[in-house]
Amino acid sequence: MNPRFRSVFIRVMRRWVLIFLGFEVLAFSLLGTNFFSLDTLQNILVSSTIVLLLAVGETFVIITGGIDLSVGFMVGFTGVVCAKIMVTLQAAGTTQAMAIAAGIAAALLVGLLPGFINGFLVAHLKVPPFIATFGMYGIAYGCAEIICNNVPIHDLPSAVGPIGHGFLFFWLPGKMFRVFVEPTGLSSVDFQHLITIIPNLSALALVFVLVFGFILAKTRFGRHTYAIGGNIDAAERAGIDVKRHLVKVYMISSFFASLAGVCYVLRYITGRAPAGSAQVLDAVVAVVIGGASLYGGKGSVSGTFVGAMVLTTLVLGLANLALPTYYAYIAVGCILIFAVLIDQFSPELVHKED
């Protein structure tokens, strides 16, 4: 191969995950029914919310060379806390807005604690991340079941559903355009033609994804995160407070898990202890497909975003083709192994983080 062609080839192949995503969309659009539409694409985006949030938090941890397994049950734990407080406050007679805001705020605050403990165990007490966060995984699940008495929490404030299923924009071409508030009293024909743009949950998730993507790529905090994953001794000797940094990184991960817990409550209008437990591995897979290495030092939020989209598109696309879900497991397993093989054998093809 001549060098010029080779360099172009490498540059293209570095984006193989993106190419794969395009291929998925193309294939499902051709084979499926009504797959290539605004609704489906937005459905992919909103369905990916929980995996995406978990994966972005996990990206920080994995870049430092660790792993956070606690995030799965953290979704259930913070979701239960969120729902419980909403229900309790509503029963006590506060306004819906107050109850919802307090529930969300409490979940986000409470969610920082497990992250702090994880970080403290890993950084200060030198517990292997796998063990520390696996322990927290069980603890979070147990606490969640205690809080909800082993039954899902229902009867949330009635405004929760419209928020979780709402969109930023509603557009009826030629007739009306609304921001955030769903129009009521439409004729059934108008209702069919109503175009809904950007799901609320996706907007919420994307704001945090963008902010933390920026932090990882552009700031000193991000640079130190990569340095710790690359060579923890070098980072320490260069004067970086590695312990403190690791605690922050695990707190970021549990913060994202709490956000995912809140999103779960808003979308499914319930708080369940086991919520999200199935998503931990999906999140790790999304991070790895996105170019990170479990050895640390590599990865990016943009890569993770694409990784999460690849997974969700696959699951929804196979569902669109009316294939059973277990085909998705096989496909995801294959992509994961493929991603790691590429990382192993062609390091020059690995997605660059800057």
Partner: protein
């Protein structure tokens, strides 16, 4: 003149093992001191106490005439006390300029809101400092992983000299280098010392140490066994002190009279190969290589 760095009665224990035992050492501005000793003699542990990686269990450190507490590496760096480690301590997944500025990144304001990394400034400054070293590094955007041993060494040294260090500790600075690069590094050591920088150099390459150091401190099993003016000793004596066949000052031995003319090429080669019978009895090195 006052010493730029002085350690008094410094001691470090790892469990029951006394890695550094009651050591005194002084370095004056512009002086190059060779710190010698076999593996496990405590050299690396001693310098890690000065650079803030380890905390001393006992003893005092004076820097620029004042007693200082060095609890972490950043404190040492802020004082102008830089260390180039044997294993170089570079983040291999980051590029050259990110390593030179690691921990002390240059920031700029983004949209008047947040501080972001100033890549342009760090790139330009890194280029300047590498040019001073006269070691070719293909691109400063390359990751450390892609560089040769000599280029990595250049990056590690650049990182130390960029911050206008008053004092530099070099742990095996020539170990990974080719002959030409070794010469450049030794030349740099001389330049830095002529600018008034105090330097401690640790090396197993006695020839290198003898060519740049004016004074030698020899350690054995955690203790400082001898101190010699380079011009007044010989490689044979120093090797003897290192392995213990020449009794050190602690044992009240008389130093042999130096015979510089006797240091022929044959002796030089023999002095560089370390005796093997010693290594079997040696305890494991706590410093980790």
């Amino acid at each position: 003149m006052e010493p730029i760095l002085e350690v008094r009665n410094i001691t470090k224990r790892f469990g029951g093992l006394v890695a550094v035992d009651n050591v005194d050492m002084k370095v004056y501005p512009g002086e190059v001191v060779g710190l010698l000793g076999d593996n496990g003699a405590g050299k690396s542990t001693l310098i890690k106490m000065v650079s803030g990686v380890y905390r001393a269990d006992a003893g005092k450190v004076f820097f620029g005439g004042k007693e200082v507490k060095i609890d972490n590496p950043m404190q040492a760096l802020r004082m102008g006390l830089e260390t180039i480690y044997q294993d170089l301590a570079l983040a291999e997944n980051l590029d050259v300029y990110s390593n030179i500025f690691l921990g002390r990144e240059k920031l700029k304001r983004f949209l008047g809101l947040v501080n972001v990394l100033d890549h342009g400034h760090m790139l330009a400054e890194s280029r300047k400092v590498l040019n001073r070293l006269d070691i070719e590094v293909p691109s400063l955007r390359n990751r450390i992983r892609t560089l040769s041993g000599g280029q990595r060494q250049a990056v590690a040294i650049s990182r130390a000299i960029y911050w206008n260090a008053k004092f530099i500790i070099m742990d095996e600075p020539t170990a990974a280098l080719g002959v030409a690069e070794q010469k450049k590094v030794l030349g740099l050591v001389r330049t830095l010392s002529s600018q008034g920088v105090g330097i401690i150099i640790i090396s197993h390459q006695l020839l290198d140490v003898f060519s740049v150091a004016t004074r030698l401190v020899i350690m054995r099993r955690g203790k400082k066994v001898a101190e010699r003016i380079t011009a007044e000793t010989s490689m044979d004596e120093v090797v003897g002190l290192i392995v213990g066949s020449v009794p050190g000052d602690l044992a009240n031995a008389n130093g042999e009279s130096p015979k510089p003319s006797a240091v022929g090429p044959v002796m030089t080669t023999s002095s560089r190969s370390r005796p093997h019978q010693e290594t079997t009895r040696r305890r494991p090195s706590p410093s980790g290589h």
